[in-house]
Amino acid sequence: MAMLQCPECAAELDIDDGVEQGEIIPCPECGADLEVLGTNPINLGLAPEEGEDWGE
C-alpha cells in the first residue's frame, strides 16, 4: 500500500500498489474522482470532468 494525499481535500489515502495508470479512484473523504497519473511512483490527480467544451 502507498500513502498518498488527495489533491482535492488533502486527506491521507491508502492506495493499493496494484493500481493501474488511468484508473479512477474516488476519494472516500471528499468524493472527488482521482486519476492515477503514474504508477512508479504512484501519482494522483483530479480526474477531468466531462463537459461540453464547444470544440475549444
Partner: protein, 302 residues
Amino acid sequence: MKAIGVYSARVRVEEKQIIAAVGDAGCLAVPVLPASMPLPPGPASPHQAMLGDVRNGSSDEGTQVPLDVIIDRCTNRAVAGVSLQLARLGGVAVVDAGLAATGSRVAVASALERAGIPRPASMVGFSEASSVDAAGHLGYPVTLFGLVPGTSSTPLQDADTADAVIEHRVVLGDDSEAIVLIQAGAPDPGERSLVHVVGGAAIATAGISVDAVGLMLAERAAVALGAGFVTIELARTPSGLVVWDALPVVDFRQAAPVGEMSVAGAIASLALKASSNPVNGRSDGGHAILVGEARRDIALSA
C-alpha cells in the same frame, strides 16, 4: 452558538480551512451539500431547517441546524444561483462574490466599467455573426468568455480560429451559450495574477507579483461588484494593468498572503460579522453581503 453553512459539493482544502477558522472563532461550521434536496420557491416556513452534515454518515445525520449565514463555495453556479436566491428569500444571509456570484460576466463587466476600473476593450456578441464581427473589431488576439462567471475562457488568436470556435458554440449550445463576452487580448498566465479580496481588502495573491497599486485595483473591483469575497484576476497588458476577470469560487491553497490574515480566516471573520449584523440588501462598501433581516430557518439540504 452561531451556525455557518459552507455551501460546497466537496469539502476541499479550502472548505476545511474555512470550517476550521469558523470553529476557531467559537462558531459551528456546517458543510452543506448543494442540490440534494428540493426547496420551496418562496420564503421557507420557520419549521424548515438546514440539515446537518450527512456527508460522512456520522451520528449527526439528519440533525437539523438552522443556519445564520451561508458561505457560497459552490462550483456549480447554476445550482448556486437558484438555491442561494431561495436561501436569501428565507432570510438567511449569504456571503458571496456579489455580482460575480449572482450576475453574468456582462453584468460584471458593466459594473466595473461604471466604476471606472480599467478593463480590456470588450464587446458582447449575440450570434455567430455578431461575435465574429466583435472579435474582428477588437483585433486579434481576443479572448472569448461565456456568460457564467468562473467558467473557462478561450483565447482566439486569429479569424479562422474565431470562426470555428464561435460556430461550434452557437450550433451546439443553447441560446444563452450563443451570447459571449469578447475581450481584446489574450494574456498568457505569466502575465496574470489572482488577487483574493475579502471584505474589501486584498488578502492573498497568486501568479505574477502584484504591487500596492494592483492590490488597490483589485479591492476597487471587489467593491464595485458588492463582493463579500471574490477573486479578481489582473492582467498586464500593453495599456497597463487591467481587471481581466472576476471569479466567484477559486482555490486559494497556493496563494501567498498579503498580510497576516489567511483567506479562510478572513472569510470566516466576514461570515461571523454577517451573522451578528444582518441588514437588508447588499453593502456598497465591499464588505459583507448581508441579505435578510434576521435568522430564519430554511429548507436546504446537507
